[in-house]
């Protein structure tokens, strides 16, 4: 029978959060002891001893009131400050992060690596390297939760979310779905295997990969007939997709948008939403319903592989997915 009392910590952020958590606990214990202790002492010391005891009235004191409002508030500001710091750190993947893609679907996690490996409910990562996970949902809201890394992010259908971590300790850790998502919500669990870099390379090489994600995307590009229009090197009815990723695209309505993951995804699912300048709406069919979120991710990687224009801000392009439900 096991009785763990503290979760394993397998990343730098986990340590940060543990420290903050310990600090919070300490302050809480101190406050609780103070309050319970006082009540306890008062309850004993001032217990009613006779029927005709008449306590002196004490009306209050604004000095005391100010003290016990301001001091706790200042203490809470330290919680806020420290927590906010970690939160922002947690949200900003370093540019050199390796990419992993995860799609939540009632009730499983589909994981893909740019190198082509695909897994279900398993995630393999090396230690010492920042890993950025791009999250997408096929249906309802899920939440990608790895307790040992102290990270979690909701996976909201309709757009991409990202999270990142840098694992420090090899081991096998729980992967949970933390947002209630229907019948088998509690079965939407898996394992994260954190490995030494060498083991990771072995694992990558070993898995029955059917080509890199870009290659898989290329195959989809053929199968779905994208290539019938988007001939890669010829200007035709359609814009060429070479060098699109990461560039600023001029739209028909005069605006420009950054061609990030979310933009490519939208171009596939709802091509009419943002029409490229010089082209007509209603030419490209919508692929909504014909292609899974996984497939879309493969196409995105493929299009990305067709050349990234290193426009300023391009490496952080994925971050603009913060813009939420905008399709």
């Amino acid at each position: 029978m096991q009785l763990p009392l503290w979760p394993e910590a397998a990343s730098a952020v986990a340590d940060d959060i543990d420290h903050l958590y310990i600090y919070l606990t300490l302050v809480s214990v101190v406050m609780s002891v103070l309050i319970f202790g006082t009540i306890f002492v008062f309850a004993i010391k001032y217990r009613r001893r006779s029927e005709d005891e008449v306590p002196k009235p004490i009306h209050g004191s604004w000095q005391l009131e100010v003290t016990w409002s301001v001091i706790p508030f200042l203490v809470m500001l330290t919680f806020f400050w420290w927590g906010a710091k970690i939160y922002f750190l947690n949200a900003t993947p370093p540019p050199e992060s390796m990419d992993v893609y995860a799609v939540g679907k009632q009730w499983m996690w589909k994981i893909q690596y740019p190198e082509g490996q695909r897994e279900i409910n398993e995630l393999h990562v090396p230690i010492g390297r920042p890993v950025k996970i791009t999250l997408a949902s096929e249906d309802v809201i899920h939440s990608f939760f790895i307790p040992a890394l102290r990270i979690k992010h909701d996976v909201v259908p309709g757009h991409y979310d990202t999270m990142w971590f840098n694992a420090t300790k090899p081991g096998r850790y729980h992967l949970f779905c933390a947002e209630y998502c229907g019948t088998e919500h509690s079965g939407m669990v898996g394992w994260v295997t954190v490995m030494e870099p060498a083991d990771y390379e072995n694992w990558l090489a070993g898995g029955g990969s059917t080509g890199t994600m870009a290659q898989q995307g290329e195959r989809l590009f053929e199968q779905l007939g994208c290539s019938t229009c988007h001939l890669l090197d010829r200007q035709g009815r359609c814009p060429t997709l070479r060098g699109v990723y990461g560039s600023r695209v001029q739209l028909a309505d005069g605006k420009t948008v950054l061609a990030d993951d979310a933009y490519i995804r939208e171009s596939i699912l709802n091509p009419n939403a943002k029409v490229v300048a010089g082209y007509k709406p209603n030419v490209m069919p919508s692929f909504q319903g014909q292609i899974s979120e996984e497939g879309i991710l493969q196409l995105v990687i493929y299009i990305k592989s067709l050349g990234i224009i290193n426009a300023p801000g391009a490496p952080t392009a994925a971050l603009t997915q913060q813009d939420g439900g905008k399709q």
């Binding site: 309505d253 009419n272 939403a273 029409v275 709406p281 209603n282 905008k326 399709q327």
Partner: protein, 233 residues
């Protein structure tokens, strides 16, 4: 309490048959009723506020899509209906005044005018709904919906139309309730229930009626005057 002593309840002079037992006098009763109505209107503000809030979020998200719907909103109808409601508000205000002054005939006439314009509003609204139906712009009821004129906005425009129907629909329901209340007040007025000392129900239902008017004052620019000058389709 040791120091508590007592006074006789109420003022013996104030024995209106309309004074309910738990109030001290008619003034307290009147004050409570109008204040109660205001508190109720607070809840109404928040009720419509929730819808306005959601609407604002989407409008801010999809300005072009929302603007594209202007082709199917006829601001003339909207303006006309605004004018109609304002007239009914005027006559409502006059009805309250008449009740306060004890002018029974004027009260009844004003109430009738109010109701008449209330009905006019609903009739006009009905014509509008009909036009939307013909235009295939009703995403409800299994989807009488087609937006092929501006396919790039079809999705988001559907959200707008849903809000359009919910907001005007809830407003219309409030109008119907208002008409029901007015009918009751009218019957009471005919029986001569009201007098300068007791016209609380008229006052209170007047507040309600004006509030429904105010909601429309906002619905009009928000739903009918979106990007009317831009032709995006």
């Amino acid at each position: 309490m040791a120091d508590t002593h007592a006074v006789a309840t109420g003022h013996s002079t104030d024995h209106s048959p309309h004074l309910r037992h738990h109030f001290d006098d008619m003034d307290q009763q009147f004050d409570s009723a109008t204040f109660g109505m205001w508190v109720f209107l607070l809840t109404e503000i928040m009720f419509f506020g929730g819808m306005f809030g959601a609407y604002t979020v989407y409008r801010n998200m999809y300005p072009e899509a929302f603007a594209s719907t202007s082709a199917y909103m006829n601001p003339l109808y909207g303006a006309l209906n605004t004018a109609v409601l304002i007239v009914s508000s005027l006559s409502m205000a006059l009805a309250v005044r008449a009740a306060h002054l004890g002018q029974q005939k004027a009260l009844q006439i004003c109430l009738l005018i109010t109701m008449f314009f209330g009905i006019c509003f609903l009739v006009i609204k009905g014509f509008e709904y009909h036009e939307h139906w013909v235009d295939m712009k009703v995403p409800l009821f299994g989807g009488h919906w087609n937006y092929s004129e501006a396919p790039q906005f079809a999705h988001q425009a559907q959200i707008l139309f849903c809000f359009y129907f919910f907001m005007t629909g809830f407003h219309a329901v409030h109008m119907l309730v208002g008409l029901g209340i007015m009918t009751t007040i009218f019957m009471m007025a005919r029986k001569g229930t009201f007098s300068p000392t007791y016209y609380t129900p008229v006052e209170v239902s007047g507040l309600y009626w004006h509030f429904v008017d105010i909601v429309w004052i906002f619905l009009f620019p928000l739903l009918y005057l979106i990007g009317h000058t831009r032709h995006l389709v």
